[in-house]
């Protein structure tokens, strides 16, 4: 700290500010971070640890000891394994489809100077304002036995009996893609909007036709956005509950639904908790692998 009280040429704060101010600043910063950290800890870490504990107890309530039996039960049960497989397949397919369908929209949204893009932006945001249940119900109206699609096909005389559009894996995929597309579009658009136009022009002048310009320049520069969008979509699909139940009509069991049944209907908390832990760690493994792949890909 400046000791030259009389020195008129001495510039205060030229280097580091006095220590007391630094302390006050860190304290203020801590105060700002505290509520968020508190909610994260209370709402995420604590329940997770509790769930981990329950999954390892031999029974709940009134445990007498710890065991890995529940994990063994879930992981050796063909029924459970099918559901786990289906859940991750659903998440993978939905992520892929939102990326493929969302990219062009995100590109247009972020890079067009057209006035219409505000309307499109509104169209992407608007569904987020409507509850998931309402949107899913919308699909049941379209896809149901007495729904729009069947009515049209019957009216045209294409079919006599209503098509069973409502109970398959793909109707759940359709619903999930519809619900999660905005997240993908907004994530990708945030990154795509920052791509320097002259980079794309440089590729063109250097001899890249539009396809190769896309593959060699545009896509690699968009990877960060696709990655963050994929993480969001994948996680939301893996944990989805409402849409699989409503559009799957009980035919498409996913892990979140099964965990709920295990705990609430069968009141088997430890097995449900073990399944939940498997879901969570499985998701983390997939995301980590995905992150590694992207990092290596972006390096090339």
């Amino acid at each position: 700290m400046s000791t030259a009280v009389s020195g008129s040429t001495d510039v205060p704060f030229a280097s580091a500010p006095p220590r007391r101010i630094v302390h006050r600043r860190t304290f203020g910063l801590g105060l700002l971070l505290a509520p968020g950290l508190l909610i994260l800890t209370a709402g995420l870490l604590w329940p997770c640890l509790t769930m981990l504990q329950v999954s390892l107890q031999d029974r709940f309530p009134d445990p007498t000891g710890y065991t890995l039996d529940h994990y063994r039960a879930v992981l050796t049960d063909a029924y459970y394994l099918r559901i786990i497989g289906r859940t991750f397949l659903l998440a993978g397919v939905v992520t892929l489809l939102t990326a493929v369908l969302g990219f062009p929209v995100a590109w247009y949204l972020a890079r067009s100077s057209s006035r219409r893009k505000h309307l499109i932006f509104l169209g992407i945001i608007a569904p987020l304002l409507v509850s998931i249940i309402v949107r899913t119900l919308g699909w049941t109206i379209i896809l149901g036995n007495e729904g729009l699609v069947n009515a049209i096909l019957r009216g045209l005389g294409v079919i006599d009996e209503p098509l069973k559009l409502m109970q398959g894996f793909w109707s759940v995929v359709l619903g999930m893609v519809h619900i999660l597309l905005p997240f993908m579009i907004l994530s990708v658009a945030a990154v795509v909007g920052k791509i320097d136009r002259s980079c794309l022009e440089a590729a063109t002048v250097l001899g890249a036709d539009p396809l190769r310009r896309f593959l060699k320049v545009a896509l690699p520069l968009s990877v960060q956005g696709i990655a963050s969008g994929s993480v969001i979509v994948f996680c939301l699909t893996v944990g989805a509950f409402v849409t699989p139940v409503m559009l799957g009509r009980g035919q498409v069991s996913v892990l979140a639904v099964t965990i709920h049944e295990q705990m609430v209907v069968l009141v088997d908390w430890p097995t449900g908790a073990a399944a939940a832990m498997i879901l969570t760690s499985g998701t983390l493994v997939v995301l980590a692998a995905y992150g590694l792949f992207l990092r290596r890909h972006a390096r090339r």
Binding site: T204, V205, D209, P220
Partner: protein
Amino acid sequence: MMISSSDAVGVDLRGVRKWYGAVPAVRDVSLAIRPGEIVSFLGPSGCGKTTTLRMIAGLEHPDAGEIRIGGGLVNDVAPWKRNIGMVFQNYALFPHMSVAENVAFGLAMRREGRAEIDAKVAAAMAQVRLTPLADRRPSQLSGGQRQRVALARAIVTRPSVLLLDEPLAALDRKLREQMQVEIRQLQREVGITTVFVTHDQEEALTLSDRVVVMEAGRVVQTGTPAEVYERPRSRFVSDFIGFTNAVAGRIEAVEGGTATVTMRSGQTIRVPAEAGLAAAQAVDLVVRPEKVELNPPAEARPGRALVSGTLRHSVYTGAVTYHHVDIGAGETLIAMASNGDGHGEAPVLGSPVTLGFRPENMLVFASAV
């Protein structure tokens, strides 16, 4: 191995026009760029110079006219098929690729073999002294290094034409001067037909064989740097290139190739008459400060045009000093004096002085109004 191009080609523009909606960006540009020549498009922003360059590259499509590269019409040739090298204002390096990968990109797009690409990339990187930086990312380079990567990437494919869009605008002054020399040397080595866009008159004069001065979408003058500087064809060109030093006047008489002009202050000078000037016409008189001598010695005065005035202030800039002289009626002429050995003491401010210059160095333009 050196990257060089023995078969340079010319670029021809004929009646090229481009509108953005209802706004004309380029109106009727015709220009023949010779093989191996380095030409600059010089003008203020919005004069159409960058749009013209982008039309040569194929990044913009002309609304009318013809663009020929090496004699072949390229209006409808896709930009990725034109074999052009281009350096963008912000360099436009690919941030996700290393320096070497950036330089190799154009060769990879031409589907050349791995070994061939490696050899050519190494040669181009050596040519711009980048070899030790091959594995760096563009974000790890300084401005001058990025500039050189962009240059290497543009020339490694042996393009038929090299286009530079304000290539030095983002560099600081020292680096800019150094890069001017490097670009010029590289262009000589490679022998490639080069077009660059700039709004910096000094850069245009330093770097080009010919300068194309543009204004409001049109070419207003084409010539060597000396021609556009010494014999600007309009007031606009004289103002844009070099120091503005102009006073208003009126032509009294034109006879035998000599015009007698009265300045607003009432002083009269006799200058060579340009074609198209007539008596009673209002004109602007323009003279470069370095052509004007302050208090010329008596033996240098015969044959000179002389104007008298009062020294108002002297601006010392190091190598030279600019003397601002009030010649009456609120008009000022500036004389430049070298601060080299043997120059006399500057006169006291407020003292009466005489300005002398050769009549042929006074340019006479019809007034705009």
